[in-house]
Symmetry: C2
Subunit: 338 residues, 2 copies
């Protein structure tokens, strides 16, 4: 052990030299191919003595595969994507792939940039969650490498897609309120540039329409999926003094914002106003009152996406399950008092 030697990283060559064999043999031992037993043991000895680990970069270079999967989401840190990512992470870990997460922050240029990075780094597959990448671009990518899209609907067959029926889910949520006797139902929208938000608004309208309720334009409140937006919107709406008895927020975070706003205005949930959210974030079961919401199986979607990517990588046709959006009944809704 020469002191002061700056750790010039060791190579398979050093191992070969010390074990008195060729690099080929060392490579074979590392990769579990047949080698004469006595050679194998001596190589293994050196391997562990030197604590040698082959360079993944060099490996990728020659093998043409990197064991990495690019994962593109809007925002790693937002609660919903966090769930999804957890799912992706858990299955990719088992398949020996390394996820490379990128947030696009709702910017089309960042999206394209992230894709470029993935391609440059020669990822073995890409998982795209939501976003605004044009379908043509997605198709182009899918033709080039394994690509799975989650959380977007209406894509052509060329692209394996995992879809949730946002419109149906929102319809279910709104219908729940209607079934409880509510008719004056407010909807707080998500960021309308996102497909999900649009779908949920449609679902709300569907349910209202089916029930023969005319939706007043004032009932449609703009929001951006964050607590604050719903808080402000709700506050503003209450000040209009229009009658209303229920609120359907396009996600749980906004439902929470609305919940506080209602409280500030002296309205009790669910006694005065029923409130439904969307997503079923882990914390929604612990809000006051616990939130009735539509459960999006985000983690399962993540798992399925990763599985599908794995299928694609191994040449199998990807399994693309359907997911059910369930209404989770808790305590933020109640029958309209007559």
């Amino acid at each position: 052990m020469t002191a002061g030697s700056l750790a010039k990283s060791l190579t398979i060559r050093d191992v070969a030299h010390r074990a008195g064999v060729s690099v080929s043999t060392v490579s074979r031992v590392i990769n579990g191919k047949k080698v004469r037993p006595e050679l194998e043991t001596s190589v293994r000895q050196v391997l562990s003595d030197l604590n040698f680990r082959p360079s993944a970069v060099a490996r990728s270079m020659v093998r043409g595969t990197t064991q990495t999967v690019g994962v593109l989401v809007e925002d790693i840190s937002s609660a919903y994507y966090a769930e999804l990512i957890k799912g992706i992470e858990s299955v990719l870990e088992r398949t020996g792939h390394h996820p490379l997460f990128k947030s696009s922050h709702w910017s089309t240029v960042l999206e394209e940039e992230a894709l470029k990075v993935f391609l440059d780094h020669n990822v073995d597959a890409i998982i795209v969650v939501g976003g605004f990448i044009p379908e043509t671009r997605l198709r182009e990518l899918a033709a080039r490498l394994p690509l799975v899209v989650a959380g977007r609907g209406g894509l052509s067959l060329g692209v394996p897609t995992l879809t949730l029926d946002q419109r149906g889910g929102a319809e279910r949520a709104t219908r729940h309120l209607i079934e409880l006797g509510h008719r004056e139902i407010v909807h707080i929208c998500g960021r309308m540039t996102q497909e999900d938000a649009v779908g949920r608004l449609h679902g709300y309208r569907d349910a209202m329409h089916s029930a023969g309720i005319e939706v007043r334009p004032e009932w449609i409140l703009p929001g951006d999926f964050l607590e604050t937006s719903a808080y402000r919107a709700m506050l503003g709406f209450v000040e209009l003094n229009l009658p209303f008895t229920a609120v359907f927020a396009a996600n749980d975070q906004m439902a929470l914002g609305a919940n506080l706003a209602l409280h500030r205005k002296g309205l009790r949930v669910p006694d005065d106003v029923s409130l439904v959210g969307y997503d079923d974030l882990p914390m929604s079961a612990y809000s006051l009152p616990p939130l009735t919401t539509i459960r999006q199986p985000a983690q399962q979607v993540g798992e399925a996406a990763a599985h599908a990517a794995h299928d694609l990588m191994t040449g199998k046709t990807p399994h693309l399950p359907e997911f059910e959006l369930r209404l989770v009944l808790r305590e933020s809704t109640r029958p309209l008092r007559r």
Copy 2:
């Protein structure tokens, strides 16, 4: 454009050929080195015609640098780490580095595995957040490559560390309750294998001790940083029928769990029981009541960690700022009614 040709990825060689120059020249153009203007324009033309992008893998191979930074956290999807990650992401993006996130899920073997992956992939730096990696190992790593540790205290000087004074923060939180006149204060602990949780328990004890209050063992409730654990613990404690007027939970998620449990038992926050959390998650401002808590500047810590890593990579001595843990007064605490 030959139809049906499977897209054998193009190389710098193809570009050189089509532009009628050598590969060296193409490389020079790509890297912005001096080249005869007319050659440069023709090469650039071909470059954009072919939409050529150099392989990051090959580049890493020869340059010995990958432009990636390994980031090891306990759990990507937990709310607190999400904040931190957001900070890391935002500055690394600006420096042109790509974060490689790994969750260790509180497992020492997964931690070590993640480190190996980082090393194998030849990351340019590593950021470790919390965790259980032995100090000797950290020192060893720090000697080998730029390493920044966040969220751990008491490390030797060899390792650049970003620390938050958890003990002090918890002392502040508890003192706040004491200043409001509370004396029978319950503490819901975090996962006690984690340094943070231990620090916060110490801080709680410090404050109680300074105020001359003897801590009853029953007041120390076990928890694991998740809502459910606190919910159950709180429920159980109330059933003991011991007098108490305030609760300090080791994080906001648990404060929320406790909040619901108190509600279930007919105790109002803050009228009957004052409640303080820790972290100041975005949603804590929207709970009912809005939560008084200790603000951990997670995002800023993330930013600082990334900056420090960048400093290290560029040979500068890392800037390791101190962070202040502020008490955020909201509505879950009030003076003890006499």
